[in-house]
Amino acid sequence: MLEKQNLRKADIYSGAIICLFGLWVILQALKMPMKDSWGGVQNVWYVSPAIFPLLVGCIIMLLGGLLCRTGLKTIGFKAFAETVRWLSSRALLQFLNSIPNLRFYAIVVLLLSFVFLNIPRIDFFLSAVLFLSVFITSFYFDVAEVLKKLFFFYLAGIIVLIIYFSIGLNEPLSRVVPFPADILALCFIVAYCVYAWRLIRNDVTLRKKYRTAMIVAIAAPFIVGMIFKYFLLVPMPAEGLVVAFMDYFWYLEFLE
């Protein structure tokens, strides 16, 4: 949580955003049927689907306004003007470039790419191994410079994957090679591991951490994934190369 003084400054902005959000809720609710007919049912105001969102929107708007006012009252307009100046100064850039923020971006990019890009398109086991190997090595090494390099390497790989999927290369390639996206992901994992190894190979402590990270990154998805897939019978979000390989052994397909 932020410090008290900074909290009050943040309250002005968050209060204003919440107030506007409340207004948006009200405006959306006003579009809902209040007294007119919906699905053959003639409405009265008190059973309208708008009544509860209207109540919630009004309260959110009121509370947001109150919070904004409290923030302004506590720090004063002068301090608020200073904050506005800070937001348009170079100090903001320095703040955004700080190491804790870099760590934050790395975590958010990792999570977003895992959920929105990899999970729906790449075999679950491969996407989880990629996610864990990047996540664990980046943070477990605990060296800001290494984190920066690994993060940008991962970002570059993610951009390649985005281009690959957005131009629709997967469809024609899958007619020629089975599981092309999974093969691409596998190449990405290998490239990442080699790059990470090259970065830390001269440091004995980091080499030890690298080994541990890789073991966990490979073992954990298999343990978790197998529990869900074969014991809880939950089909994986995307089943590809690895799942096909595991199914082959699990269901004794080689005996057929």
Partner: protein, 517 residues
């Protein structure tokens, strides 16, 4: 006769559950897992319950409840390990335990402190279980008299009180979080007319926002971001010798135990606030009534006892409103509510009719979980504390994978992930800006209840709000809500002080003046 029958059935249920080896294996496994979740700083029992909910999808309700309640009980107790041994509370619930637990460990009495917290936690859970069994029929009876207005006001009160009590900064932020939760509950087709609200033409939103992914996102993702962003490091673990159950200390402190258990049950029963507040209130009460308050903070054994009894007594306390009114008493209870709905059990006043033995079953599971926790605590504590050596940078990413696969597994819907992650990131920013997350989650859970009951009530009264003032319970709830809101404003506080000063007898005022002089 009915009471004897219920007691008989209770013990029959305990025996029935304990005689199944699978149940026993799940019980001990979940307790150990819960203790690990509680012990690891950064993980909480809420997250443990959230992640395990996905695993219980294929189980029958009784087995699922064994699993989830055991992890809840174990998680609440497990936090004390990190508090005592590394001075970092494993969970917020055990923050008060660290004040005196760690000094005890530094004196070389870590084994004694862990032994005492183990026994105290088991006693706290058992006492709360007794309250759950005895109070539930009365609350259910009263709740059956409730009409839609009362349920609407109760949901409203639950959100307001949890916002008031859990806010780390301004109370207003707690309320905002609660109402943001209520907004999320509005998303989807409304239950009376099936009108799509805030769905933006996305068919996946038609059925509304799924509770469990929201809960996993709100509790899990901010935890991962916070721990890894702030480079959270676990300190060196204090060594400890043999773990002693400390029965002698327990017997000598029976009044303190009862007081702490009452605090725990009472606070647990208030919607939305949980074990952490119970532990602090109990710590304060123990210090205020102690003959040696100066010893607190320096390794006072009664302080450890009071906090641990209270935070575990919260477990049963939180079950009382959850099972009888459908209002979760604490964040893990909110998670349990989601799990119960998943298993087709709708908590509320009708629970005794729809599932007549369910509350007895829950009580039996709580008893077994507390016993399993005591056994594990006494025999395996030395092994379990080894999890404190695992670096956070290794287990947090794994928790991330579990959050994601757990959210997906419930309903096997990838859209749950698209919902869980944004909710998690927004929750992180809200937490950073001093907004509590528990009211948001409670808002999501109580939203449908508030919405439906408000409109149903207005339908019955033909749009009139008069029944709020003519029905005694509704009026009482309304007045409590008004009081809760007004009491937070300085203007009202000043007015109250002035009124009290006028009401106070002149004699006392004279004495005050003399003393002031």
């Amino acid at each position: 006769m009915v009471i004897l029958e219920r007691i008989g059935f209770y013990f029959q249920t305990v025996l029935h559950l304990a005689s199944d080896p699978i149940h026993i294996a799940i019980l001990f496994g979940s307790v150990i897992l819960g203790i690990m979740f509680g012990a690891m700083p950064g993980l909480t029992s809420t997250l443990g319950v959230a992640l395990l909910t996905a695993m219980t999808y294929g189980m029958d309700t009784a087995t699922a409840m064994i699993c989830l309640l055991s992890i809840y009980v174990g998680g609440t107790y497990g936090g004390s390990y990190a508090s005592i041994l590394i001075n970092i509370p494993g969970t917020a619930a055990s923050a008060a335990t660290a004040l005196d637990g760690y000094p005890l460990a530094r004196k070389g009495e870590g084994g004694r402190a862990i032994g005492l917290t183990t026994t105290a936690s088991a006693i706290g859970t058992i006492i709360s279980m007794l309250f759950l069994v005895s109070i539930s029929p009365m609350i259910s009876f009263f709740a059956l008299q409730f009409t839609s207005f009362e349920f609407f006001l109760l949901a409203f009160f639950g959100i307001l009180i949890s916002g008031t009590l859990t806010s780390p900064d301004l109370v207003i932020k707690g309320w905002i979080a609660g109402f943001l939760g209520l907004f999320l509950a509005c998303v989807g087709r409304d239950m009376l007319q099936f009108y799509p609200r805030f769905t933006f033409g996305i068919p996946e939103l038609d059925s509304g926002v799924e509770v469990v992914p929201v809960l996993i996102g709100a509790f899990g993702i901010p935890q991962i971001i916070q721990v890894l962003k702030e480079k959270f490091q676990i300190g060196e673990t204090q060594k400890f010798q043999k773990i002693i159950p400390e029965f002698g200390t327990i017997v000598r402190n029976i009044p303190r135990i009862i007081r702490s258990a009452l605090i725990g049950v009472g606070i647990g029963a208030v919607p939305g606030i949980g074990e952490d507040i119970a532990a602090w209130v109990s710590y304060g009460a123990a210090k205020n009534t102690s003959k040696h308050p100066e010893r607190f903070g320096k390794g006072e054994i009664t302080a450890v006892l009071s906090t641990e009894v209270a935070n575990n007594a919260c477990v049963g306390g939180a079950m009382i409103p959850l099972l009888n009114l459908g209002i979760p008493g604490s964040p893990p209870a909110a998670m349990l509510l989601g799990a119960l709905m998943l298993h087709g059990v709708t908590p509320g006043p009708m629970i005794n009719f729809e599932h007549p033995n369910f509350i007895i079953e829950v009580a039996a599971i709580l008893l077994l979980a507390s016993m399993a926790m005591w056994i594990v605590g006494m025999l395996l504590a030395k092994q379990v504390v080894k999890v404190l050596r695992i670096p956070t940078q290794i287990f947090m990413p794994i928790i991330g994978v579990l959050c994601i696969i757990g959210s997906y597994a419930l309903g096997m819907n990838i859209f749950n992930l698209y919902l869980m992650l944004p909710v998690g990131i927004i929750s992180y920013f809200l937490i950073e800006m001093g907004y509590p997350i528990a009211p948001l989650v409670i808002g999501v859970i109580l939203g449908p209840m508030a919405d439906e009951n408000l409109r149903r009530a207005l339908m019955v009264s033909q749009g009139s709000f008069l029944p709020v003032f003519t029905r005694p319970v509704a009026l009482l709830l309304f007045l409590v809500i008004v009081w809760t809101v007004l009491s937070q404003f300085p203007l009202f506080k000043n007015l109250k002080d002035r009124l009290l000063a006028k009401i106070r007898p002149r004699k006392f005022r004279k004495t005050d003046t003399v003393q002031d002089d």
